[in-house]
């Protein structure tokens, strides 16, 4: 690149009036290695810019929140589904239990009669047993006799 062409570009550059394409011409010129000694001071400058462009971000793009929100969204969705299933199931079970209770209520009077009969039977048996225990009084009478003799 001719010196006559670069010089005005450099003056424009210093004034901040060069366009991007003109700055590219300058970049290429100073990267070429065949730099006119009169422009020597610009060489490190343009080389520096060139070098800077090579710097890359070495880390990884860590979005820890990305994962959690991603999971959370799924989590919420699934927990909503699970909750609704649970509600439906519990309503179903509850209804079933209620119907069972109703069915026992229908037999309630009968059950009462049965238990009453059972209790009557129990008392009869108890009374029978109690009668048989009357013999035990004999012990008492004999015991009393012995005590009186003494």
């Amino acid at each position: 690149m001719e010196r006559s062409k670069i010089k005005p570009l450099l003056t424009k550059y210093l004034e901040g009036e060069t366009s991007l394409s003109e700055e590219k011409i300058l970049n290429e010129y100073f990267a070429s290695g065949k730099v006119d000694p009169t422009f020597e001071e610009y060489k490190p400058l343009f080389n520096f810019f060139e070098e800077q462009r090579k710097t890359a971000f070495e880390g990884e793009v860590n979005l820890p929140e990305k994962k959690s929100t991603f999971l959370n969204k799924k989590y919420y969705r699934w927990s909503a589904i699970a909750a609704s299933v649970l509600i439906v199931c519990s309503v179903y079970f509850f209804n079933q239990k209620q119907t069972k209770i109703k069915s026992t209520e229908v037999n309630h009077e009968l059950a009462m009669k049965h238990t009453q009969d059972l209790l009557y039977m129990m008392t009869n048996v108890m009374n029978d047993g109690k009668k048989q225990l009357q013999y035990l009084n004999e012990f008492n009478t004999t015991q009393n006799q012995i005590i009186q003799q003494k």
């Binding site: 550059y13 700055e23 590219k24 490190p44 400058l45 520096f48 971000f57």
Partner: protein, 169 residues
């Protein structure tokens, strides 16, 4: 914007964002952290990103503001000289050292500029962005950018010339 699209959006930008952070914060570690923080900020804004007329410029603005905030908070007290590998396989060792030295010198000069000038040099001369875009990122008017950039470029040239003359005498 889902995760995949966000990563695609960030991919071409991440180096620019990182370089801008290094330029403003100097420490590479701080710049790395800053870039990561800005990713997080952008990720939180992912729903709105596309509503900006220039999401790329917006990402750069967020980076710039975040770095300047960091500097204001003086969180970044550990100033470290950036070390870059200025390798040129063709040049001899002596030349290589000289070249490295020269580039390190330019780096020092730029570090000596004020933050606004550094920002503009970074965006224009390193990232080669259009003035229109720089105006959005730096939140400045184009004419003001040109003036500040011109001043910065002249300062750098002056400093390089100083060094050159010392070297030759």
């Amino acid at each position: 914007m889902d995760q995949q699209r966000f990563l695609e959006f960030i991919e071409p930008l991440q180096d620019k964002m990182y370089r801008l952070s290094v330029r403003l914060l100097i420490s590479k570690e701080a710049a790395q952290d800053a870039t990561q923080e800005v990713f997080m900020k952008l990720w939180k804004l992912k729903g709105k990103l596309n509503s900006y007329d220039n999401p790329q410029a917006f990402a750069m603005t967020v980076t710039k503001n975040y770095c300047l905030d960091q500097l204001k908070l003086k969180k970044n007290n550990n100033l470290r000289i950036v070390h870059n590998n200025y390798e040129d396989e063709r040049s001899s060792l002596q030349k290589e050292i000289e070249a490295k030295d020269e580039l390190a010198h330019v780096s020092e000069i730029i570090e000596g500029l004020n933050k606004q000038e550094q920002l503009l040099i970074q965006l224009r001369d390193v990232e080669q962005l259009e003035y229109e875009e720089i105006a959005k990122i730096a939140e400045m008017k184009e004419t003001a950018i040109r003036v500040a950039l011109s001043r910065a470029r002249k300062k750098i040239r002056k400093e390089i010339l100083k060094k050159h003359r010392y070297g030759t005498v």
